[in-house]
Protein backbone atom coordinates (compact mmCIF):
# COMPACT_ATOMS: atom_id res chain seq x y z
CA UNK A 1 0.00 0.00 0.00
CA UNK A 2 1.28 3.45 -0.93
CA UNK A 3 2.20 5.79 1.88
CA UNK A 4 -0.26 8.35 0.70
CA UNK A 5 -2.93 6.73 -1.43
CA UNK A 6 -4.80 9.93 -2.16
CA UNK A 7 -1.71 11.63 -3.47
CA UNK A 8 -0.87 8.48 -5.39
CA UNK A 9 -4.30 8.38 -6.93
CA UNK A 10 -4.09 12.02 -7.93
CA UNK A 11 -0.67 11.52 -9.47
CA UNK A 12 -1.82 8.40 -11.30
CA UNK A 13 -4.83 10.20 -12.68
CA UNK A 14 -2.61 13.10 -13.67
CA UNK A 15 -0.22 10.82 -15.50
CA UNK A 16 -3.07 9.17 -17.35
CA UNK A 17 -4.51 12.49 -18.41
CA UNK A 18 -1.10 13.74 -19.50
CA UNK A 19 -0.71 10.73 -21.76
CA UNK A 20 -4.16 11.28 -23.19
CA UNK A 21 -3.35 14.92 -23.88
CA UNK A 22 -0.18 13.87 -25.60
CA UNK A 23 -2.22 11.67 -27.91
CA UNK A 24 -4.48 14.57 -28.68
CA UNK A 25 -7.46 12.60 -27.37
CA UNK A 26 -8.43 14.75 -24.41
CA UNK A 27 -11.47 16.98 -24.43
CA UNK A 28 -12.36 19.58 -21.85
CA UNK A 29 -14.30 17.68 -19.19
CA UNK A 30 -17.65 18.87 -17.96
CA UNK A 31 -18.65 19.04 -14.33
CA UNK A 32 -22.19 18.85 -13.03
CA UNK A 33 -23.49 20.83 -10.08
CA UNK A 34 -23.03 17.74 -7.91
CA UNK A 35 -19.43 17.49 -9.12
CA UNK A 36 -18.87 21.14 -8.30
CA UNK A 37 -20.11 20.58 -4.75
CA UNK A 38 -17.72 17.67 -4.23
CA UNK A 39 -14.83 19.65 -5.72
CA UNK A 40 -15.53 22.66 -3.54
CA UNK A 41 -15.63 20.39 -0.51
CA UNK A 42 -12.22 18.83 -1.12
CA UNK A 43 -9.08 20.92 -1.24
CA UNK A 44 -7.06 18.35 -3.19
CA UNK A 45 -9.70 18.28 -5.92
CA UNK A 46 -9.74 22.08 -6.17
CA UNK A 47 -5.98 22.00 -6.75
CA UNK A 48 -6.28 19.20 -9.25
CA UNK A 49 -8.90 21.05 -11.27
CA UNK A 50 -6.46 23.79 -12.11
CA UNK A 51 -3.70 21.45 -13.19
CA UNK A 52 -5.48 18.39 -14.47
CA UNK A 53 -9.23 18.60 -15.11
CA UNK A 54 -9.26 15.31 -17.04
CA UNK A 55 -7.74 13.47 -14.11
CA UNK A 56 -10.25 15.17 -11.84
CA UNK A 57 -13.08 13.94 -14.06
CA UNK A 58 -11.92 10.35 -13.71
CA UNK A 59 -11.60 10.62 -9.94
CA UNK A 60 -15.11 12.06 -9.65
CA UNK A 61 -16.45 9.21 -11.79
CA UNK A 62 -14.71 6.67 -9.58
CA UNK A 63 -16.07 8.33 -6.44
CA UNK A 64 -19.59 8.40 -7.85
CA UNK A 65 -19.41 4.73 -8.81
CA UNK A 66 -18.14 3.72 -5.39
CA UNK A 67 -20.78 5.79 -3.65
CA UNK A 68 -23.48 4.25 -5.80
CA UNK A 69 -22.37 0.90 -4.46
CA UNK A 70 -22.59 2.32 -0.93
CA UNK A 71 -18.99 1.59 -0.18
CA UNK A 72 -17.98 5.00 1.06
CA UNK A 73 -18.67 6.94 4.21
CA UNK A 74 -19.96 10.37 3.26
CA UNK A 75 -17.73 12.12 5.71
CA UNK A 76 -15.22 11.04 8.22
CA UNK A 77 -12.49 12.72 10.17
CA UNK A 78 -9.16 11.05 9.83
CA UNK A 79 -5.48 11.60 10.17
CA UNK A 80 -3.39 14.09 8.31
CA UNK A 81 -0.44 12.92 6.28
CA UNK A 82 2.38 14.86 4.77
CA UNK A 83 3.48 14.22 1.21
CA UNK A 84 6.41 11.82 0.84
CA UNK A 85 8.76 14.42 -0.56
CA UNK A 86 7.35 17.41 1.26
CA UNK A 87 6.73 19.25 -2.02
CA UNK A 88 2.95 19.29 -1.86
CA UNK A 89 0.69 20.41 0.97
CA UNK A 90 -0.13 17.78 3.59
CA UNK A 91 -3.33 15.85 3.08
CA UNK A 92 -5.87 17.32 5.45
CA UNK A 93 -8.87 15.03 6.05
CA UNK A 94 -10.95 17.93 7.32
CA UNK A 95 -10.49 19.68 4.00
CA UNK A 96 -10.93 16.52 1.89
CA UNK A 97 -13.84 14.68 3.47
CA UNK A 98 -14.74 12.69 0.35
CA UNK A 99 -11.23 11.30 -0.01
CA UNK A 100 -10.60 10.17 3.56
CA UNK A 101 -11.68 6.61 2.80
CA UNK A 102 -8.58 6.25 0.65
CA UNK A 103 -6.37 6.67 3.72
CA UNK A 104 -5.78 2.99 4.46
CA UNK A 105 -4.20 1.52 7.52
CA UNK A 106 -0.69 0.26 7.18
CA UNK A 107 0.06 -3.50 7.24
CA UNK A 108 3.20 -2.49 9.11
CA UNK A 109 1.12 -0.97 11.90
CA UNK A 110 -1.08 -4.07 12.06
CA UNK A 111 1.99 -6.28 12.37
CA UNK A 112 3.44 -4.02 15.08
CA UNK A 113 0.24 -4.27 17.10
CA UNK A 114 0.23 -8.05 16.68
CA UNK A 115 3.75 -8.18 18.12
CA UNK A 116 2.81 -5.99 21.11
CA UNK A 117 -0.09 -8.29 21.96
CA UNK A 118 2.17 -11.30 21.58
CA UNK A 119 4.66 -9.82 24.04
CA UNK A 120 1.95 -8.84 26.53
CA UNK A 121 0.57 -12.40 26.44
CA UNK A 122 3.88 -13.72 27.83
CA UNK A 123 3.09 -12.04 31.16
CA UNK A 124 0.97 -14.29 33.36
Amino acid sequence: MSRHPVIGLVLAAGLFAAVMQGCGAAQAPEFTQADEAVIANNEALVRLRASNPEGLRRILDALAMARTRQLLPRSEAGRAATSPDGTSPPFDPARNPDLVFLQRASPEAAHDLFQLLKQAARQK
Binding site: E76, R79, L117
Partner: protein, 200 residues
Protein backbone atom coordinates in the same frame (compact mmCIF):
# COMPACT_ATOMS: atom_id res chain seq x y z
CA UNK B 1 14.12 -14.46 -7.93
CA UNK B 2 13.11 -12.83 -11.17
CA UNK B 3 9.53 -12.35 -12.18
CA UNK B 4 10.00 -14.87 -14.99
CA UNK B 5 10.89 -17.60 -12.51
CA UNK B 6 7.81 -16.78 -10.48
CA UNK B 7 5.61 -17.35 -13.48
CA UNK B 8 7.53 -20.23 -15.09
CA UNK B 9 6.47 -23.16 -12.92
CA UNK B 10 2.81 -23.82 -13.59
CA UNK B 11 2.40 -26.11 -10.58
CA UNK B 12 3.85 -23.52 -8.21
CA UNK B 13 1.83 -20.80 -9.87
CA UNK B 14 -1.32 -22.85 -9.49
CA UNK B 15 -0.62 -23.30 -5.79
CA UNK B 16 -0.01 -19.55 -5.44
CA UNK B 17 -3.29 -18.78 -7.14
CA UNK B 18 -5.06 -21.29 -4.96
CA UNK B 19 -3.69 -19.57 -1.88
CA UNK B 20 -4.76 -16.19 -3.17
CA UNK B 21 -8.24 -17.50 -3.89
CA UNK B 22 -8.47 -18.89 -0.37
CA UNK B 23 -7.38 -15.56 1.11
CA UNK B 24 -9.73 -13.39 -0.92
CA UNK B 25 -12.65 -15.77 -0.42
CA UNK B 26 -12.05 -15.90 3.33
CA UNK B 27 -11.93 -12.12 3.60
CA UNK B 28 -15.11 -11.85 1.55
CA UNK B 29 -16.81 -14.45 3.74
CA UNK B 30 -15.72 -12.56 6.86
CA UNK B 31 -17.37 -9.36 5.70
CA UNK B 32 -20.51 -11.20 4.63
CA UNK B 33 -20.70 -12.95 7.98
CA UNK B 34 -20.46 -9.83 10.13
CA UNK B 35 -23.09 -8.18 7.96
CA UNK B 36 -25.35 -11.24 8.30
CA UNK B 37 -24.87 -11.34 12.06
CA UNK B 38 -25.60 -7.65 12.45
CA UNK B 39 -28.84 -7.00 14.28
CA UNK B 40 -29.17 -3.80 12.29
CA UNK B 41 -29.43 -3.84 8.52
CA UNK B 42 -29.40 -0.07 8.24
CA UNK B 43 -27.26 1.01 5.32
CA UNK B 44 -25.02 3.26 7.43
CA UNK B 45 -24.33 0.41 9.87
CA UNK B 46 -23.56 -2.14 7.15
CA UNK B 47 -21.39 0.45 5.41
CA UNK B 48 -19.22 0.79 8.51
CA UNK B 49 -19.06 -2.96 9.16
CA UNK B 50 -17.69 -3.48 5.66
CA UNK B 51 -14.75 -1.13 6.22
CA UNK B 52 -11.23 -2.40 6.85
CA UNK B 53 -11.40 -0.62 10.20
CA UNK B 54 -14.11 -3.03 11.38
CA UNK B 55 -11.90 -5.94 10.37
CA UNK B 56 -9.00 -4.40 12.32
CA UNK B 57 -11.15 -3.91 15.40
CA UNK B 58 -12.29 -7.54 15.17
CA UNK B 59 -8.68 -8.67 14.82
CA UNK B 60 -7.63 -6.69 17.89
CA UNK B 61 -10.47 -8.09 19.99
CA UNK B 62 -9.78 -11.60 18.73
CA UNK B 63 -6.10 -11.26 19.64
CA UNK B 64 -6.89 -10.06 23.16
CA UNK B 65 -8.96 -13.20 23.68
CA UNK B 66 -6.81 -15.66 21.73
CA UNK B 67 -3.64 -14.49 23.46
CA UNK B 68 -5.37 -14.84 26.80
CA UNK B 69 -4.79 -11.24 27.82
CA UNK B 70 -7.04 -11.20 30.82
CA UNK B 71 -5.13 -10.11 33.91
CA UNK B 72 -4.53 -6.56 35.04
CA UNK B 73 -0.79 -7.19 34.84
CA UNK B 74 -1.13 -8.15 31.18
CA UNK B 75 -3.16 -5.11 30.17
CA UNK B 76 -0.72 -2.92 32.08
CA UNK B 77 2.16 -4.53 30.23
CA UNK B 78 0.36 -4.06 26.92
CA UNK B 79 -0.14 -0.37 27.71
CA UNK B 80 3.53 -0.02 28.73
CA UNK B 81 4.65 -1.74 25.52
CA UNK B 82 2.31 0.54 23.59
CA UNK B 83 3.90 3.62 25.20
CA UNK B 84 7.41 2.29 24.45
CA UNK B 85 6.34 1.72 20.85
CA UNK B 86 5.19 5.33 20.61
CA UNK B 87 8.45 6.63 22.07
CA UNK B 88 10.42 4.64 19.49
CA UNK B 89 8.08 5.77 16.73
CA UNK B 90 8.64 9.39 17.69
CA UNK B 91 12.35 8.86 17.06
CA UNK B 92 11.73 7.38 13.62
CA UNK B 93 10.38 10.11 11.38
CA UNK B 94 10.40 7.92 8.29
CA UNK B 95 8.26 5.29 9.91
CA UNK B 96 5.96 7.94 11.31
CA UNK B 97 5.48 9.24 7.77
CA UNK B 98 4.96 5.70 6.44
CA UNK B 99 2.15 5.19 8.93
CA UNK B 100 0.62 8.58 8.13
CA UNK B 101 1.13 9.86 11.66
CA UNK B 102 2.46 13.07 13.15
CA UNK B 103 3.74 13.91 16.65
CA UNK B 104 0.30 15.05 17.79
CA UNK B 105 -1.15 11.63 17.02
CA UNK B 106 1.59 10.04 19.09
CA UNK B 107 0.99 12.34 22.05
CA UNK B 108 -2.75 11.69 21.96
CA UNK B 109 -2.18 7.94 21.86
CA UNK B 110 0.08 7.74 24.92
CA UNK B 111 -1.27 6.26 28.12
CA UNK B 112 -0.63 8.95 30.69
CA UNK B 113 -0.95 9.26 34.44
CA UNK B 114 -4.59 10.19 33.79
CA UNK B 115 -5.58 7.55 31.30
CA UNK B 116 -3.55 4.57 32.52
CA UNK B 117 -5.34 4.29 35.91
CA UNK B 118 -8.67 4.46 34.09
CA UNK B 119 -7.65 1.66 31.77
CA UNK B 120 -6.60 -0.54 34.68
CA UNK B 121 -9.61 0.30 36.81
CA UNK B 122 -12.05 -0.57 34.04
CA UNK B 123 -10.20 -3.78 33.28
CA UNK B 124 -10.23 -4.73 36.97
CA UNK B 125 -13.94 -4.03 37.39
CA UNK B 126 -15.03 -5.45 34.03
CA UNK B 127 -12.38 -7.84 32.66
CA UNK B 128 -12.01 -7.35 28.93
CA UNK B 129 -13.67 -3.93 28.97
CA UNK B 130 -11.82 -0.88 27.67
CA UNK B 131 -13.20 2.60 27.50
CA UNK B 132 -13.66 4.00 24.04
CA UNK B 133 -10.85 6.56 24.25
CA UNK B 134 -8.34 4.00 25.45
CA UNK B 135 -9.40 1.50 22.80
CA UNK B 136 -8.76 4.20 20.21
CA UNK B 137 -5.30 4.68 21.75
CA UNK B 138 -4.43 1.03 21.22
CA UNK B 139 -5.61 1.28 17.61
CA UNK B 140 -4.13 4.69 16.87
CA UNK B 141 -1.73 3.47 14.16
CA UNK B 142 -4.53 1.69 12.33
CA UNK B 143 -7.32 4.22 12.40
CA UNK B 144 -8.20 7.66 13.71
CA UNK B 145 -10.05 8.01 17.00
CA UNK B 146 -13.07 9.22 15.04
CA UNK B 147 -13.04 6.19 12.76
CA UNK B 148 -12.72 3.98 15.82
CA UNK B 149 -15.73 5.69 17.37
CA UNK B 150 -17.81 5.27 14.22
CA UNK B 151 -16.95 1.59 13.93
CA UNK B 152 -17.84 1.08 17.59
CA UNK B 153 -21.16 2.85 17.12
CA UNK B 154 -21.89 0.54 14.18
CA UNK B 155 -20.80 -2.50 16.20
CA UNK B 156 -23.13 -1.47 18.99
CA UNK B 157 -26.02 -1.16 16.54
CA UNK B 158 -25.04 -4.56 15.16
CA UNK B 159 -25.22 -6.05 18.65
CA UNK B 160 -21.54 -6.97 18.74
CA UNK B 161 -20.62 -4.75 21.68
CA UNK B 162 -22.21 -2.77 24.49
CA UNK B 163 -21.17 0.82 25.15
CA UNK B 164 -22.07 1.84 28.66
CA UNK B 165 -21.40 5.15 30.30
CA UNK B 166 -19.47 5.03 33.56
CA UNK B 167 -20.06 7.28 36.54
CA UNK B 168 -16.98 9.25 35.48
CA UNK B 169 -18.50 9.82 32.04
CA UNK B 170 -16.30 7.42 30.10
CA UNK B 171 -17.84 5.14 27.48
CA UNK B 172 -16.98 1.58 28.38
CA UNK B 173 -16.80 -0.85 25.46
CA UNK B 174 -17.82 -4.37 26.44
CA UNK B 175 -17.63 -7.08 23.82
CA UNK B 176 -20.38 -9.65 23.47
CA UNK B 177 -17.86 -12.01 21.85
CA UNK B 178 -19.46 -12.06 18.41
CA UNK B 179 -16.66 -10.28 16.57
CA UNK B 180 -14.04 -12.51 18.17
CA UNK B 181 -15.99 -15.63 17.22
CA UNK B 182 -16.46 -14.53 13.62
CA UNK B 183 -12.82 -13.55 13.29
CA UNK B 184 -11.75 -16.88 14.78
CA UNK B 185 -13.95 -18.81 12.38
CA UNK B 186 -12.61 -16.79 9.49
CA UNK B 187 -9.03 -17.55 10.49
CA UNK B 188 -9.69 -21.24 11.15
CA UNK B 189 -11.53 -21.62 7.84
CA UNK B 190 -8.73 -19.89 5.96
CA UNK B 191 -6.07 -22.06 7.57
CA UNK B 192 -7.98 -25.25 6.86
CA UNK B 193 -8.72 -24.33 3.26
CA UNK B 194 -5.04 -23.60 2.69
CA UNK B 195 -3.99 -26.84 4.39
CA UNK B 196 -6.35 -28.98 2.36
CA UNK B 197 -5.84 -27.06 -0.84
CA UNK B 198 -9.58 -26.84 -1.25
CA UNK B 199 -10.68 -23.80 -3.15
CA UNK B 200 -13.81 -22.15 -1.80
Amino acid sequence: MSQLEIFDDSAELGADLNLLECMTAARKAFVERICEESASKEAHVIEMLRLDSAYQLAEFMYLLRARGIASEAQIRLLADLHNDYIVNLARDEQKMARLGLNPNHLLDAMFTSDTMPRLLQHWREHPGAIDQSNLARFLFALMSAETCRKVLVACEAAGFIRRQKTAAGALLVVSRGVLEDIFGEYLRGLRQSIATGATP
